[in-house]
Amino acid sequence: MKIHEYQAKELFRKYNVTTPKGKLATTSAEVEKIADEFGLPVVIKAQVHAGGRGKGGGVKLAKTKADVTPIADSIIGMTLVTKQTGAQGKKVRKVLVEEGLNIKKELYLSIIPDRETASVAIICSQDGGMDIEEVAAKTPERITTVNVSPVTGIQAFHLNQINFGLELDKELHKQMGALVRNLYQLFVDYDCSMVEINPLIITAEGNILALDAKMDFDSNALYRHPDVVEMRDIEEEDPAEAEASKFGLNYIKLDGNVGNIVNGAGLAMATMDIVKMAGAAPANFLDVGGSANAEAIENGFRLIMQDPAVKGILINVFGGILRCDNLANGVVAAANKLKLSVPVVVRMEGTNVAEGRKILAESGLDLVTAKDLADAAEKVAQMVK
């Protein structure tokens, strides 16, 4: 689960990770008031769950009093398009107003779990403010990574590796060490799946501050962080995806026109792939669960039918624990209830498959039965052409 920059910075401050002075605003009048309070210049930053805000025109510096209102007006209410938002962009509803600082150097710092070594990886670079993937590809020697075991925690040598890796002035070592230690503690305490500061700045006065803040949390651990759950901004999420999460379904909207209903995440991805291979494009990823029931199928149908791009639906279910005859009854019930307006191809396999196919064939519904997965993909691709 992602949160906004201003929320991440609140958590940073709680852990003594220094951030610029800042306040949240939703109108240009509020922005003006904050600018008066802080003094100029101020930085006005769009608060949306996406990276690349600066390039998209969502982060601007107001140097004079006359700049403040026009800049605030241009950002609040704008539809911000960045490489992470997709072409439809994201509407900006709030901005973070921060004091302008005298930046001497920009660094990069992030913390992520390292799956292969079961440790916490702290990644830093002196090339802050840039796309870190690009730095990693072009000049990997300018990136320092340390792996911290969550059992023993962060040690002095980890901090040394970071300080010397960043080629920091000796007098900054203590300050940086404390910042990294605090940020690591925040990461662990809050079950984060990512903390990223890009850039982490050193000011002319010799202070190290988090100019930006991105945080993502392990959704499996949210039960122990009610304060993080409070920070969820449902308006930043795709409405259909938010609705799916209420039913316990995994739904991700894509750009194609073949709706998919599949049981199991791996099979759902493989179904998307095979639809593409047959010459069509998947409209979604939808995993109704390895042991899906009729209700899950009905909710899946409803979600997919809300997407106007969908011209055909492919149901691909491998009945293991769930028997195919039960599944077929569920499909028929859902199709009758929802009055489907697009063709549906059903491919089912597994326990009691003969009975299941018979139920579908005798239902009187316009359901196309496929004999196997390859056949199903070809049939549905043909229909949406």
Partner: protein, 293 residues
């Protein structure tokens, strides 16, 4: 022959009195698995059908000499259950539970490094099944066929069923089918399974099913190239059309920072002599071509 579990496996079930645990324990018993004990703290002395229930894994092991455990404990308690099983000296721990926090699994993994006698499979996995001998987990017993020669290892549940079903349809049996799970931090990995299949004389060929996220598939391909030239491997990778930065159902299935893509994994397969299956619908046919038996 088989890997990890066979007719001599003596299984205990952690979380046997919950609805999932009860349902799947019965299915395992019906398949022929020797379930010797259950564990639910506070319910020691009771019985689930004919299976005696104990308060701790230690008690259960002492009384029944169980050597394997199947875990159906809810996610917030599952990491603890894995460590409890390892502490009691259980050799094979299969954790079906989905949704364990990554931080908990990291601690488990570090703990297991001090308990080398214990092998963990999962979490977030369908378990494993040695056809005709032993089923641990939730794989449907109806789709498998005993006798080998194929070993199956996979990160995904229903995708495993798909592969196993197709093998059975074209007339091939399986030695053991192992689901290693869809979480980013798990116990047994592809290479562990491949090593075991290599050492199993009845396994003559292997199906390996991966998906986006991490680089376990790439590591496995590297290992295959160096160590297993004599047993053909058919490989499939799910997620070619998955958008980057999105978690595709499984906690571990995500392309981030340009890493963990299906394309990279498929290239690794091709470069290491693994027979890449492009069309999942035709996996059975490909297996027939690759291994004539």
């Amino acid at each position: 022959m088989s890997i990890f579990a066979n007719k001599n496996t003596r299984l205990l079930v952690q979380g046997i009195t919950g609805s999932e645990g009860m349902f799947h324990t019965r299915a395992c018993i019906a398949y022929g698995t020797n379930v010797v004990a259950g564990v639910t703290p506070g319910k020691g002395g009771q019985k689930m059908d004919d299976v005696p229930v104990f308060n701790t894994v230690k008690d259960a092991r002492k009384a029944t000499n169980a050597n394997a455990s199947m875990i159906f404990v809810p996610p917030r308690f599952a990491a603890d259950s894995i460590m409890e099983a390892a502490d009691a000296g259980i050799e094979l721990v299969v954790c079906i539970t989905e949704g364990i926090p990554v931080m908990d699994m990291m601690k488990v993994k570090n703990y297991l490094a001090t308990r080398p006698q214990t092998r963990l499979i999962g979490p977030n996995c369908p378990g494993l099944l040695t056809p005709g001998e032993c089923k641990i987990g939730i794989m449907p017993g109806s789709i498998v066929k005993p006798g080998g020669p194929w070993g199956v290892v996979s990160r995904s549940g229903t995708l495993t069923y798909e592969a196993v079903h197709q093998l059975t349809q074209v007339g091939f049996g399986q030695t053991t089918c192992v689901g290693i799970g869809g979480d980013p931090v798990n116990g047994t990995n592809f290479i562990d399974c491949l090593k075991a299949f290599k050492d199993d004389p009845e396994t003559k060929a292997v199906v390996m099913i991966g998906e986006i996220g991490g680089h376990a598939e790439e590591d496995a391909c590297e290992w295959i190239k160096e160590n297993m030239p004599d047993k053909p491997v058919v490989g499939f990778i799910a997620g070619l059309t998955a958008p980057p930065g999105r978690r595709m159902g499984h906690a571990g299935a995500i392309v981030s920072g340009g890493k963990g893509t299906a394309t990279a994994k498929i290239e690794a397969m091709k470069a290491s002599g693994v027979h890449h299956c492009e069309n999942l619908g035709k996996m059975g046919e490909l297996c027939k071509k690759v291994f004539k038996g």
